[in-house]
Structures are given as structure tokens and as C-alpha cells.
Point group: C2
Chain length 389, copies 2
């Protein structure tokens, strides 16, 4: 493929590498950068995975995934999300990222158009370009004042060539969760057209606002137009495991299955088996973690309230908040670099998530509360200093 | 991407699914179909992987792979293969298949040409098309009488647009190992040109002829033109684990690293750590398995000698032999389907590996020796029967 030069290194990973480098030089960094939970994978899943290895789940599996796991995912999608699919609609993939990529590869043909809501996860745009270099991407910004969908601009961009709309809720980097009303708007928009909604719901279980999570795949009228992406990484702290899944209409599964066979063969077999045990964990399992996220979010809100140069649309779920630094900064790259240099605090520049978001930085809520509190103190001090942003 | 309709389901997997279906119906199938060793992954690797899970190797890793693992791979490539690279040339991938795919994605631009030696592994051609739909593929058949490279045809197909030549030794499906002379020919061909040699060496350790394994990456004059693909699946019976690697010139690593970040993030972290332990296993480790493969190959040779309708170029390594059925058949699909139906023996039609190889079937050597012997008896009987192929 022709790799356009704007398929850049993933900026989030790059920054976290920089922070790690400072750490290696024994400078203590407060990393508010990377997006993975810091708790351990539940031991039940570790033990089930070990057991699977010993029982010989070390050979190839069905490319779509173990039937047992797909049954559990099917039940989960119905129970948690109201998405009613059969196991033949489900593909287990090496990570939710790979699920999104396979879906886009299966969907996009030359000159298709894609509506992408910005700011967005750093890999969406590169993944679209990898899947189809000629795809036309319409990046539609969230409203800067309340992070609502800009329905007017979405409608305007939507046309007969629109093959996909990518949504993500809870959202990286803003923490926004789509409202019922917004899901309804998108459903009405694509109903009866050739356009699919690709819904990345990887942060579903990380929800510290108590707001209800809506899945567009549950809207019966457009069931054949919804692709749901989810996985185990964020809910169960299994980022390094690389296991995710998608649920898609049958007409797409054949292409996705072929791509999976020729690119991946299958997702690691004993990891699939181990992941089955995640469904037997106590339902209250993510509550304690969400309380901790909430605690940090409150510290952030408190700091922002006391600093007139900063502004925040409060996040509802996920692992991040998107801090508006427009009152303080000369650009998010400069802000982040100087914050790291002067105060040893790592955040991610907003411009990594969309070209119009250079007046924001992403703050991860995963650091331990004491460390996070100190991070807030340093950001506040940094913004107020003469020699600041 | 525009998925051309000839990106078919991987035929090997499909056939093995058919065989499994018969198994479910309690019909005992002798599967000479699929290509994975049947022994268990060495327990040392299983335990090291479990240990890594418990020690928290459950988070993201460097996209290129753990430094510790890349150091071990670097040493292995130098010691076993004479390939002298740094760890910055090495990328650990979710399977050797994915390594090949990332390499092709990084290499190929619109209208580039690829020389592909046929018969070939069923995923090569789809992977080329996924990487670059407009690539022009020149499939050059091995000589049917001795499986040597057809140097005349390769030279004729080679031109300024040739970006890659894909080779595979030990070879799937023929078991051929490239001779020193053939490696030299290819090296001279690409030297000083813009063409790379992508060398899939996944079957390296499965060598029952004692023939020396040559790596083109060891040829100093074209070091900057060689991409070596290898992994753990076949040598250590880790097919279901999905871990492989590539070594490539620096100029390609940046693009491969970006693709890895946006498609995979990284290869499962604890599996990488567990794979490190493979390098401490006894060097004699594959000997017993190679003896068993040799035993089965001898049974095949014996059967072919006694059946005048069959012919065989003896395999030297890998897991397969490619049986010439031209004296017996009306096409390899029909041969394979009828053999499965009449005799409950599963083999893979040669046409899956190249359009000119419909007069061959692939025989896997992995079945237990007694089962393999019975398989040979049934094939012989089938070929001789009135109501046969």
C-alpha cells in the first residue's frame, strides 16, 4: 500500500516512551499519558489461561474464535447492550484495535467516504488509510462547549458515498458518553442507506458518572448496519493480552473471516479460553475501579475550577479527560513538552487527536490518587508560572 | 480496500474444518491435512509464560517487542543463520503470517510487481492483494520434475518494477529446501536493484534430510535487501500462540513499526516473555520430532514406489510432501473430496497452492506413524480402485 506520510507514529505511545526514558534516567515522572488501567489482570483469568495452556489450547482455533467464547460474548451483548446477534456474527480478534481494522478493511472500497468524529483515538485515521488509501475522510468536530455531536455538520457531510461513521463511547480522549438522543440521530441517518456505524465500545465498563451506556447495535431498525467493537483490555486490565471482538452483520462476516485467516489465522487460543472466565467474575467487579477514577476526576475538576485559564467538559466514562488549555497555551505540543520538561508531568497533546484540538491536552485518570493529586498541583503551578505554557 | 473475490477462504483451514465435521459425526478421519505439529508446547515455555503473567507482563509492550526477546532473536539469527542485524532491525509480531503481511504492506506501492514462487503457501497471494490491490503478481512455478527454481522464468519476470520476491524454505507445500546455489542466484539478481527478497523460514527447524538451511539474509552483499520471517509456531509447536518475528533493513522498520502500532499495538506481552525461554531449550530439541517426520516420509516414499500412478519429489524439510497425482487424477479438488468421502483420509488439493498444481495433493507428515501408515495404505487402495480418483 502507499503509506501516506501522515500515518505517523502513534503519538500516545511515543510520548509514553519519552516519559519512560526520563524514568530510566531516574527522573520521577508523573505519567498522565498512557491509556491502560494500572491494576492487575484478575487472577481468575490468569489461572484459567494457565489451565488452558496446560490442557493443550495451544493449537490453531477456528478463525472466528472458540465457539464457547463466542457464546459468552453473544450472551453479554444481549444482556448488557441489548444487541441480539448469533455467534456467527461474532469474530474474536487480537485486540479491539485489530477488530476495528478488519471491519474497515472489509467495508471500505476505493473512494468510499467515512465520517469520523474528532477528536478521536489516534489510530482511527491511520486505520482508515491503511484499509483504503483513497477513502475520503470527513473529520467532524464535537461541539467545543459541551462535546455534543454536531448534527448539522454530520448531516452535511453524509451522502451516498458515505460507507461508515465511526463512533466511540465512552470516548477517548474526551470521556464523553453518547446520549440516547445522539444514538437515535445516527440511527435515523443511516437507516435505509449503504452506510454502516462502527461503534467502538472498548471503554464501556469504565463509567464513573453512572450515565447509561447506549449501543447503536441495539437499535433494531438498523441492526444490519451496526458493527460493535469491544474487548477485554480496559475492563479487565488486559491491555497486553491483545484480545477483542466485533459483532457485525452476516454479509460482512465472510470478508472479515477471510481477512482474519490470511492476516492472523486466529487469536491466541489459550487467551480465548482464559477470557471465557472473565464472564464469571462478580458483576460488581469494575465498581471499585470506577470509584477511583471518579476520585481523580474530582481532583481535576477542583483544580480547573481554581484556575481561570483552564476549562473542562466533565468526562462521564473511559480513562481520560480532555482539558481545554486555550486560555493558557501556545499550542498543545509546546504545552505538553514544557510541562514534561519543567514539571515532569506527562500528558498527551490534543492535536494528536484532531487538527482542531491543539487547544486541549488529554489527561489520563489512571495514575494513583496521590500521584494524580500531585500532578494536578504541578499543572496548576505550571499554568500560573511566568515561564509556563 | 477492494477485496477481490479471489481472496478466498484459506483452503487448508476449510478442508480441516470439513474433516473436523466428519469427526464430530464420529467418522474417524485420518487427517493428512493441516500443518501444525501435534506434540505439546514444551512445558518450560508454558511455565515461563505463566510466570510472566503473574509477574505483570500483562500491559502494553514496546510495539517492536520486548528488548530481551529481540536480543535473543538477534543472537539466534547470527548463530543459526549468519544474519547479522541489530535489535532495531527486529519486530516481534502476532504470528509469522502477520510478520509477512506487515512486511508486504510496508514494501508495496501501487503497481509494484512481485515474484511469487508457486506452488506456495495459501496466504501469500491474498496477503499481497491485501497489502496492495494493484500489485502485479508473477507466479513462477518450480520445475515439476525436481522442484528447482526456474531461473529463466524468474529472470524474465524480473524488471525495474519488481519490489519483492517471496521465497520459503523449507517450503510449504513441497518440502523443498533452497540450495546454496539458488540463494546465490537470487542474491545476484536483486543486488543493486530496488527489489527485496522476503524469506519465510518458519519451517527452518523441521529438517529431516539433514540438508543445510541457507538464509538469504546472510548474504552480505544484499543484507539491505533481505527480510527474514520466522517464528515459534512450527519449531516449538506454538501454532495457537501467535508469535513470530521479522528482521528487516532499518529503512523499512519505521513503516513496519507504524503499521504494527496502528494494527496490533504489540504482540501479547507475556507470550513474548514466555518465548524467551525457548532459546534455553536443549539444542537437540527438534531431533526426535524430525526422526518421526523422516519415518513418515519413508512410508510415503515406499507407497509411491509401489504405485505406478503416483510420483514424488522427496521433501527435505518442513511438514509436508507434495504428491504428484497426474497419473491418477481428474483434478486435485475431485481427488481430495473423493478420498475424504471414500476412505476418510483428508489431504489438501494442490490447486490451493497454485493454479498449475491441480495434478498434486499436499500430504502432511504430522499424523502419528501408525495412522500415517494406514493413511498410505488407503491412498494406495483408493488410487488403484476402479471407483477411485
Amino acid at each position: 500500500m502507499k503509506l501516506s506520510p501522515d500515518i505517523r507514529d502513534s503519538a500516545t505511545l511515543k510520548f509514553s516512551e519519552l516519559a519512560k526514558e526520563k524514568n530510566r534516567r531516574k527522573e520521577k515522572i508523573i505519567s498522565l499519558g498512557i491509556g491502560e488501567p494500572m491494576f492487575d489482570t484478575p487472577p481468575e483469568i490468569v489461572e484459567a489461561t494457565y489451565d488452558a495452556m496446560k490442557k493443550g489450547y495451544t493449537k490453531y482455533s477456528d478463525p472466528l474464535g472458540l465457539v464457547e467464547l463466542r457464546e459468552l460474548i453473544k450472551d453479554k451483548l444481549l444482556k448488557d447492550n441489548g444487541i441480539d446477534v448469533s455467534i456467527d456474527n461474532i469474530v474474536v480478534t487480537p485486540g479491539a484495535k485489530q477488530a476495528l481494522s478488519l471491519a474497515l478493511m472489509a467495508l471500505l472500497e476505493p473512494n468510499d467516504e467515512v465520517i469520523n468524529i474528532t477528536p478521536c483515538y489516534v489510530s482511527y485515521i491511520p486505520q482508515i488509510k491503511i484499509a483504503e488509501p483513497s477513502a475520503v475522510i470527513h473529520n467532524i468536530d464535537l461541539d467545543k462547549h459541551d462535546h455534543s455531536l454536531d448534527r448539522g455538520k454530520i448531516k452535511k457531510a453524509f451522502n451516498k458515498k458515505t460507507k461508515a461513521i465511526i463512533i466511540n463511547s465512552p470516548h477517548n480522549p474526551t470521556g464523553k458518553m453518547l446520549e440516547r438522543d445522539e444514538i437515535g440521530f445516527l440511527a435515523r441517518l443511516v437507516k435505509g442507506t449503504g452506510c454502516y456505524v462502527v461503534s467502538d465500545e472498548i471503554y464501556e465498563k469504565l463509567n464513573f458518572s453512572g450515565m447509561r451506556h447506549y449501543s447503536i447495535g441495539a437499535v433494531k431498525e438498523i441492526k444490519d448496519k451496526a458493527i460493535t467493537i469491544n474487548g477485554f483490555s480496559k475492563a479487565f486490565s488486559m491491555t497486553g493480552w491483545r484480545i477483542g471482538y466485533l459483532a457485525a452483520p452476516k454479509e460482512l462476516i465472510k470478508a472479515i473471516s477471510r481477512l482474519q485467516q490470511h492476516l492472523n489465522t486466529n487469536t491466541c487460543t489459550f487467551i480465548q479460553k482464559g477470557a471465557c472466565s472473565a464472564f464469571s467474575l462478580n458483576e460488581d467487579y469494575p465498581k471499585a475501579y470506577n470509584s477511583a477514577l471518579k476520585e481523580r476526576e474530582s481532583l481535576l475538576v477542583e483544580m480547573v475550577k481554581s484556575n481561570s485559564a483552564l476549562r473542562l467538559v466533565r468526562p462521564a466514562g473511559g480513562l481520560f479527560a480532555f482539558l481545554d488549555i486555550s486560555g493558557a497555551s501556545h499550542g498543545s505540543d509546546r504545552f505538553s513538552a514544557r510541562l514534561l520538561d519543567r514539571k515532569n508531568v506527562a500528558v498527551i497533546p490534543g492535536v494528536s487527536f484532531g487538527e482542531n484540538w491543539d487547544d486541549h491536552v488529554r489527561i489520563s485518570l489512571v495514575a494513583q490518587t496521590d500521584e494524580f493529586r500531585e500532578g494536578m498541583r504541578r499543572i496548576d503551578e505550571f499554568v500560573r508560572s511566568e515561564d509556563g505554557p
